[in-house]
């Protein structure tokens, strides 16, 4: 088990280093930080002094090593656009994005899995057909159009829900949460649906396909022959065996949720990391872009690691095979 985790972490290192190299190359070669920091009037001596102070006269690998050490400590310098530390900016925006992503993922799983099980079990009922048609729409509509449609219907026409911002937030230490106020929860509803709808339909279709597959197998027939109640067969035997692919996809989709949060946050003017990133792309604010890139890479690497560990927990066969290999 320990060796397995270690090998996965060793595999993740080159990925992180590659991404760090790309971020660093953006810092070093795109735009001229010295010119930006000096402004209009400067002497050659001032320029040289600043270059030395920033360490830009050092060899490439020394600079890169410094960048990695600083990045590991969360040190990314100042945003060109806002002249504030990048780490501070991101820490401020992270709770908004994470709460949104959490709600969207919860929605996708809590609604998607039961819908998938239902459509798998009763494949010819009219409700199943309705779910499947509905999922086709969910897959084909781009995220931003879903957001716009929801705003049009629920904010503009019906006036039930707010269309932008987080509502009132409560500050818990450095974490700001929208879960504790009524307006905060109301503000979460439309963005979460927008962000989670695609994942919901994906998970539903996946669970359905896996259920159809599993229900055909012999051990399900045997379980029925043993006279087990339907509930035990469907959930204890069938659903449990569909979980491996579902966990993989759900894990990888968590990354996609964070990526598409950029779009959702733009539609709903949600003050999260995605909105910060898109504003930085528009303003060519390299430090923020580099930090965001590294952060997202870290999130993806961690998600992949967790997914691998979950396999271990869910599928005992993996444990046996690895044990056998080690024993041999």
């Amino acid at each position: 088990m320990f060796a397995f985790i270690l090998s996965r972490i060793l595999q993740a290192l080159p990925v992180m280093l590659t991404v760090a190299l790309i971020s660093f190359a953006m810092f070093a070669y795109v735009g001229d930080p010295v010119a930006i920091m000096l402004g209009q009037d400067f002497t050659e001596a001032q320029r040289d002094a600043l270059v030395r102070e920033l360490g830009l006269d050092q060899p490439f690998f020394v600079q890169f090593a410094k960048f990695v050490v600083n990045a590991a400590q969360g040190e990314f310098g100042l945003s060109y656009r806002l002249s504030r530390p990048v780490a501070e900016l991101i820490a401020e925006r992270a709770p908004a994005t994470l709460e949104l992503a959490f709600c969207a993922a919860a929605l996708a799983l809590l609604v998607g899995v039961p819908m998938g099980v239902y459509t798998g079990l009763y494949r010819n009922s009219w409700l199943s057909r309705f779910f499947l048609t509905f999922s086709l729409i969910g897959v084909s509509l781009p995220t931003f159009l879903i957001g716009i449609l929801l705003i049009l219907i629920f904010s503009v026409w019906l006036g039930w829900l707010p269309s932008f911002g987080r509502g009132d937030v409560v500050q818990l230490g450095w974490w700001s949460t929208g879960f504790l106020t009524w307006s905060g929860i109301r503000a979460l509803i439309l963005p979460s649906i927008t962000l989670g709808l695609f994942q919901l339909t994906l998970i539903m279709r996946l669970v359905r396909a896996e259920m159809l597959e599993v229900l055909r197998t012999d051990y399900i027939k045997f379980a029925r022959a043993r006279g087990l109640p339907n509930r035990a067969v469907h959930f204890g035997h069938a659903l449990k065996n569909t979980l491996v692919p579902v966990i993989t996809i759900a894990g990888l989709q968590l990354g996609a949720i964070i990526a598409f949060a950029i779009v959702t946050e733009t539609v709903f003017q949600w003050p999260g990391m995605g909105l910060l990133f898109i504003q930085s792309v528009n303003a060519a604010d390299i430090p923020v872009m580099a930090a965001y890139l590294l952060l997202i890479a870290l999130v993806f690497v961690v998600i992949n690691l967790v997914v691998d560990l979950l396999y271990y927990a869910v599928d005992p066969r993996l444990r046996v095979e690895r044990g056998a290999v080690r024993g041999a």
């Binding site: 084909s140 931003f144 159009l145 449609l149 049009l152 503009v156 990526a259 792309v281 890139l293 890479a297």
Partner: protein
């Protein structure tokens, strides 16, 4: 050498499975209308949305023709500057299609070339290329496209950027999608390179480049056609998303995504048609292309028949 798989596929078998599926026929019709309307926009569109002289601010914010204050001259209403929405959508679809098709062509060329190299040469080339593809596939392609776009934007001065923005978007979307092609082509190349016809070509002393291009390439293109069709939907959506975020095509050449972004500002004042009609056009285009791609995949895959 046998006829390439994708030529062989266009026989009556494929035609038969096409006619048998009403959904496919319908999506082909919708796709044809979209593409036709986009390509022939200068001929068919009732107005020229870029001709500033013909715009009249008095015509701004006209609702669609069937509404009470609608005007038959503007079937789908007008936007804030009095531009006819139908014409704007037709011209916008042109830009969307141009970017989508170019981006898919770009990623196909790049992916097929790199996949062929990786599969045929093997060894270090293969290891490095596939490792890069793996790393890139870890991230959603829309994120890669955004990032490439952002970096290029930062690297170029603003005046230059506005001129080349269209190419930047094509490059960004194209580069975000090559691993799919490379992986598939590499897989089939690995199978093909051990076949006897390749051995024979090597025995008679053909160069590696020649073997790759004239002998292996035609035999690995079958699946590429399917992936390219399915990627077209993705590329059009990616362009719309980038343009919606304001980092896509320049405002002087509005695509469907740009139109949706502009219309989004008027959602609250009740002018819903400025954003909903371009959105509907986008969905119709992407959905029909995706359904055609699905059908092509199933029809070309004998295992599913």
């Amino acid at each position: 050498m046998a006829a390439p798989a994708f030529v062989r596929a266009f026989d009556s078998d494929l035609w038969w499975s096409f006619r048998r599926s009403p959904v496919t026929v319908l999506s082909a019709v919708v796709a044809l209308v979209c593409v036709g309307g986009a390509l022939l926009a200068p001929l068919l569109a009732p107005h020229n949305p870029f001709d500033l002289a013909s715009l009249n601010l008095l015509d701004a914010f006209k609702p669609p023709a069937w509404a009470a204050e609608g005007d038959l001259a503007y079937p789908l209403g007008t936007d804030d500057q009095g531009r006819d929405m139908l014409s704007a959508i037709m011209y916008g679809a042109r830009v969307s299609l141009l970017v989508g098709v170019s981006a898919v062509l770009f990623s196909t060329l790049l992916g097929v070339a790199l996949g062929l190299l990786a599969g045929y040469l093997g060894g270090a080339v293969d290891a490095v290329l596939m490792r890069i593809a793996d790393i890139q596939l870890t991230f959603p392609s829309i994120l890669v496209a955004l990032l490439v776009d952002g970096v290029v934007r930062a690297a170029l001065p603003r005046e230059v950027h506005d001129q080349v923005a269209l190419f930047v978007v094509i490059f960004a979307i194209g580069i975000s999608n090559w691993p799919q092609f490379a992986r598939t082509v590499r897989g089939s190349t690995l199978v093909e390179r051990n076949k006897e016809y390749v051995l024979a070509a090597r025995v008679i002393g053909l160069s590696r480049l020649r073997i790759m291009l004239t002998h292996v390439l035609p035999n690995v293109l079958g699946p590429v056609l399917v992936i390219a069709t399915l990627s077209l939907g993705f590329a059009i959506l990616a362009e719309a998303t980038l343009s919606f975020l304001g980092v896509g095509v320049p405002p002087t050449q509005p695509s469907l995504g740009t139109l949706i972004r502009i219309g989004n500002d008027f959602l609250f004042s009740g002018e819903w048609w400025i954003t909903i009609f371009p959105g509907a056009a986008l969905v119709a285009m992407v959905l029909s292309v995706n359904l055609l791609g699905d059908w092509l995949r199933d029809a070309l895959n004998p295992k599913l028949r």
